[in-house]
């Protein structure tokens, strides 16, 4: 016989809760995605890259993303081990890079692969370097380039740290990070001699070459994730055992390597205030948020407050909290994965996007007045379509060449057995394409990839103009699956302008340079960056879609070099990659 007291709903009546965190979705609109023009042949000669053949100068902005990995010869499959269910180490996947490692003006590709068993010190080499040939197809040159990576690799970033004109490669991973010096088409592992630390239990993720002190030498920032505890490989989610979330583990501090010259680095994160010890770091973005020439570093932290490390003359202060990017709008520590910066509203100020966990919206932080950002995730239309996806790599990329950066986010759950306890989430998910509509609004395009039905488990995403046709393509490293190369095929191409920079007084890669293009339609800003997205590296050049602009005289191009020099360039024609070398050496 029940007494009335037995029916008390005690705490439910006593505790007022912060109801719900997230929001809803499902207003997919379909525009686009039809038609496939012939793939433009990559062309390049000297300092001026000729444009591909154009099919017309329409301005509809329609484009198609065609999955072309197989056709282009990019046969790469990520490997991560075979536990079931996957542990946190196995499920985090890897990144990819768009780089020109052989200096031929054609973008090459690099993908990280983890290995067969993260518990072992050495893995069977699986990361892949793909060189683009003159025909525009790719060939696997990993072994020939001496890029034998036997670590449980994860992230990558590119920069010419010794200013010898060749792109060097840094690869992070669970247990060990590696620095590869480019000798001219071949790489040499210089990790130890360069002074890159090997710390037990280390788990490097995102990274970025960045000249923190503007001395013309690229320094290196490396995010670290959590201290994995082998005694706790799995945790309970609902009634099911899954890999644990990072909340189960202690966070690791990040590393900052100052370039001493002569191929040597010195780790200085703590004295420089850049260690962010409470963050479970994943995506890293270096960008000059306040346009003072000193690059800030942002870290998307998983389940911990995101970091915004303001650069004050080479030293850093984490102002993520006061800036408003550390948390979601509800004060929740979201599961930050990938990160990118772009001026989506054309006000000349860098805004930030961060992908988050399932049931959390992707974040879009609009820069108000530095250091203040406003969470425009929902207001902009980014939040709603992302809430039922788990985002990883993300890039601002002007897919329709209208002069407004769109957003691409690769998605896939972290729990391979999520279907056992959720009737909403799936392990494989569709990517998300959000077209910038102007006035600060985005709209989802149905079907994230080339084929709307193609779901995958995306991790690293990088953007780059692989065929130098002015339409940015996408490269995606998928967990335990074949990599994807989505070739952007504009059905009505618009005019465009590409810029490739070479520093002289500044670092030779010109990383940190700010390139501004002003047309009658407004201002566009790009930065030359290393790292970003989720453990990935996008095209090191700046690419501008010019929308309705057809006259080169209407285009004003300005470069602010990392060292502070400003340089204006007059254009005689559009639809080309301009090679610009820093003046005044």
């Amino acid at each position: 016989m029940n007494s009335p007291l037995q029916q008390f709903s005690l705490t439910a009546h006593r505790v007022r809760r912060n109801h719900f965190a997230g929001l809803c979705v499902l207003s997919a609109t379909s525009a686009i995605l039809v038609g496939c023009g012939g793939r433009a042949k990559p062309e390049h000669s000297g300092s001026l890259l000729p444009p591909p053949a154009r099919t017309g100068g329409g301005a509809t902005g329609a484009f198609a993303l065609k999955d072309s990995a197989e056709a282009l010869g990019v046969r790469f499959k990520h490997s991560h081990g075979t536990s079931a269910p996957l542990t946190i180490v196995e499920t985090m996947g890897g990144g990819c890079a768009v780089l020109d490692f052989d200096g031929d003006g054609r973008m090459d590709l690099f993908f990280t692969s983890a290995g067969q068993d993260f518990k072992q010190e050495r893995q069977e080499p699986g990361s892949g370097l793909f060189r683009q040939t003159e025909s525009g197809s790719f060939e696997n040159v990993t072994a020939a380039a001496g890029l034998t990576i036997d670590t449980y690799a994860m992230g990558c970033c590119v920069g010419d740290y010794d200013n010898d004109g060749r792109s060097d490669l840094f690869v992070t991973g669970f247990g060990r990070n590696q620095l590869f010096h480019n000798l001219g088409g071949r790489f040499e592992d210089v990790t130890t001699t360069a002074g890159i630390l090997h710390r037990p239990g280390q788990w490097g993720t995102g990274c970025s070459f960045v000249d923190i002190d503007r001395d013309g030498k690229l320094d290196l920032y490396v995010a670290n994730y959590v201290v994995y505890d082998p005694a706790v490989p799995l945790c309970r989610t609902s009634n099911t055992m899954t890999g644990c979330t990072p909340n189960r583990y202690k966070t690791q501090r990040n590393e900052l390597y100052r370039n001493l010259g002569g191929g040597r680095f010195e780790e200085c994160a703590i004295p420089r205030g850049a260690d962010d010890p409470s963050g479970a770091g994943l995506g890293v973005l270096s960008t000059d948020l306040n346009n003072d020439g000193w690059p800030e570093i942002l870290v998307a932290n998983d389940g911990t407050p995101n970091a915004l490390l303001q650069n004050v003359k080479g030293k850093f202060k984490n102002i993520g909290d006061m800036a408003g990017i550390a948390y979601g709008e509800t004060g929740a520590m979201r599961a930050g994965m990938g990160i990118d910066g772009g001026d989506y509203d054309g006000d000349g100020k860098m805004d930030i996007t961060i992908t988050n966990f399932f049931h959390e919206p992707n974040s879009l932080y609009r820069q108000r007045d530095f250091p203040f950002f406003e969470d425009h995730s929902y207001l902009s239309g980014v939040g709603t379509p992302s809430i039922n996806r788990l985002g990883f790599g993300t890039v601002f990329v002007d897919l329709d060449q209208d002069g407004r950066p769109d957003l691409y986010a690769g998605n896939g759950h972290v729990f391979d057995n999520v279907h056992e306890f959720s009737d909403v989430a799936t392990f494989e998910q569709l990517d998300l394409v959000l077209l910038n509509q102007g006035r600060g609004k985005f709209q989802e395009i149905a079907g994230g990839g080339a084929q709307p039905s193609l779901k995958s488990v995306a991790r690293g995403v990088a953007a780059g103009d692989l065929n130098n046709d002015g339409a940015p393509d996408l490269v995606i490293n998928c967990l335990g699956r074949a990599a994807r190369v989505l070739m952007n095929q504009p059905t009505s191409p618009r005019h465009w302008l590409g810029v490739s920079l070479t520093g002289t007084r500044s670092n030779r890669s010109a990383i940190g340079a700010r390139v501004e293009v002003t047309t009658q339609e407004g201002l566009q800003v790009r930065e030359i960056r290393s790292g970003g997205s989720y453990c990935s590296q996008s095209d090191p050049r700046a690419l501008f879609g010019l929308g309705g602009t057809v006259d080169p005289a209407q285009v004003k191009l300005t470069v602010r070099w990392p060292g502070g020099n400003r340089q204006s360039v007059k254009l005689s024609r559009l639809d080309q990659y301009l090679q610009i070398t820093e003046e005044g050496r």
């Binding site: 037995q6 008390f8 505790v15 719900f20 309970r236 644990c244 709008e329 203040f372 239309g381 039922n388």
Partner: protein, 435 residues
């Protein structure tokens, strides 16, 4: 005699008077024996039913007249509990349990009352004793779940409530609490299923409907969420919870100024209906932020934090709005405190996960007690210290924790009026008397 033989000769019983008389006597004897056996129980049941109908005052008279009547005392305790006189109710229940130590209902109710009084360890012990006395006691599991909600162990709470619902699948209160526990642990699919089950059992349960609306919202089913919340408002247009939930839905889906204004109107209605609802004020503040009215936002967020001092979103937004309103120093201070709270809550979650997996992880228990002491959650700290003392009496952190708890309790006691008449010891580490 076998059935087959009787069946084979059905007429034989009726044929002669002797067997009939014999049967009659047998029946009469059995009736007498049964009556003799059941009479006290029937009388007892009648007595209990009579007691249940009595008012608190009648029960008080009854108890005075017959102090040894355990049933009367038990009903009196329930009446006291229902009228909010928890301490008196606890005293009565302790008296009941002195006379009837294994009475599971009394143990469960005692646990519930201790929980309402924030005496978590006593609650835990009583509920466990209730379960020892009656192992499949669904309501005790449910209250154990509620105890874990109160002591910030949401995953453990969900597990106990799941057990309660397995044992008593149609208990509406347990089901709704389980739905809320699922929401708290971000297990929205199961939360939705649980609320839907409640609504099948009790279609007019507005609490379940609001829970379902919020869950659908979290699951990104906007249309479903709005329709569900509007059903609640159709029945009660001033339901503050439904209004604030709908207001939040409108706020978070707003992409135009007009939509923001519509959200604001709903939230204004919500706080007019229930001015003590921190969520309504919090969301009004968020609207003000989006409308670039930082001073107004500060005012709303302050209101929300006054009503709910632990509200993370309100604290965070207060810090941000203070900065935007030109009060940068105060804003930075609020945000610094918020960061500490956030990181601590992450660690708490991590420790709870450890304890969920291994309830005997005493290091985790000790660290949780430290955090509770740091955050002034003294009753929860007392609970953890008690558990640590029972499970790992030689744990190196225990003496320090007890000393710190005693200091903080003493400080708290001097700053509040004495709770005279409180049954049980004022020592927070004391366990309730063992029944």
């Amino acid at each position: 005699m076998s059935r087959s033989r009787r069946a084979a000769s059905p007429g034989s019983v009726r044929s002669g008077p002797a067997p009939k008389r014999w049967l009659w006597w047998m029946f009469a004897a059995a009736l007498a024996a049964g009556a003799a056996f059941y009479a006290p129980q029937i009388s007892h049941a009648v007595h209990r039913d009579r007691l249940k109908q009595m008012s608190e005052e009648r029960l008080r008279v009854e108890v005075s007249a017959r102090p040894a009547d355990v049933d009367a005392r038990y009903q009196f305790a329930l009446a006291l509990g229902r009228s909010g006189q928890h301490l008196d109710a606890i005293r009565e229940l302790l008296t009941v349990l002195q006379r009837d130590p294994l009475r599971p209902e009394a143990l469960n109710d005692l646990g519930a009352l201790y929980l309402l009084e924030g005496r978590y360890y006593e609650s835990l012990v009583s509920l466990r004793q209730a379960l020892a006395a009656r192992p499949n006691y669904a309501l005790a599991y449910a209250n154990l779940g509620r105890l874990h909600v109160a002591t910030k162990m949401p995953f453990t709470a969900a597990r106990e409530l799941q057990r309660a619902v397995e044992l008593d699948p149609n208990n509406i209160d347990s089901l709704i609490d389980l739905g809320e526990a699922y929401q708290r642990t971000l297990n929205y699919s199961q939360a939705r299923q649980t609320y839907e089950r409640v609504l099948k059992l009790r279609p007019n349960s507005q609490r379940a409907r609001i829970g379902l609306g919020k869950t659908l919202f979290s699951l990104a089913d906007y249309a479903g969420a709005e329709s569900t919340l509007r059903q609640v408002l159709a029945a009660n247009p001033s339901d503050a919870s439904a209004l604030s939930s709908l207001g939040r839905l409108k706020l978070e889906t707003a992409t135009t100024d007009e939509q923001l204004q519509a959200a604001r109107d709903l939230l204004r209605q919500a706080v007019r209906s229930d001015a003590a609802d921190p969520e309504g004020w919090y969301d009004l503040g968020r609207v003000a932020v989006k409308q670039r009215k930082p001073a107004q936002a500060v005012e709303f967020f302050r209101r929300a934090t006054q009503l709910s001092p632990d509200h993370p979103g309100a604290h965070y937004q207060l810090g941000m709005s203070l900065q935007l309103a030109g009060k940068e120093a105060e804003g930075r201070r609020v945000l610094a405190e918020f960061r500490m709270t956030s990181l601590r809550s992450r660690e708490q979650g991590q420790l709870e996960e450890q304890l969920y997996q291994n309830p005997k992880d005493w290091d985790a228990m000790a660290r949780l007690a430290e955090i509770d002491l740091e955050t002034g959650q003294l009753p929860i700290a007392a609970l953890r210290c008690q558990q640590l003392g029972q499970g790992a009496p030689t744990h190196p952190k225990l003496p320090g924790l007890i000393a710190q708890l005693a200091r903080k309790n003493a400080a708290a006691a001097t700053s509040r009026p004495s709770a005279s008449g409180s049954p049980g010891s004022t020592n927070p580490l004391s366990a309730p008397p063992s029944p």
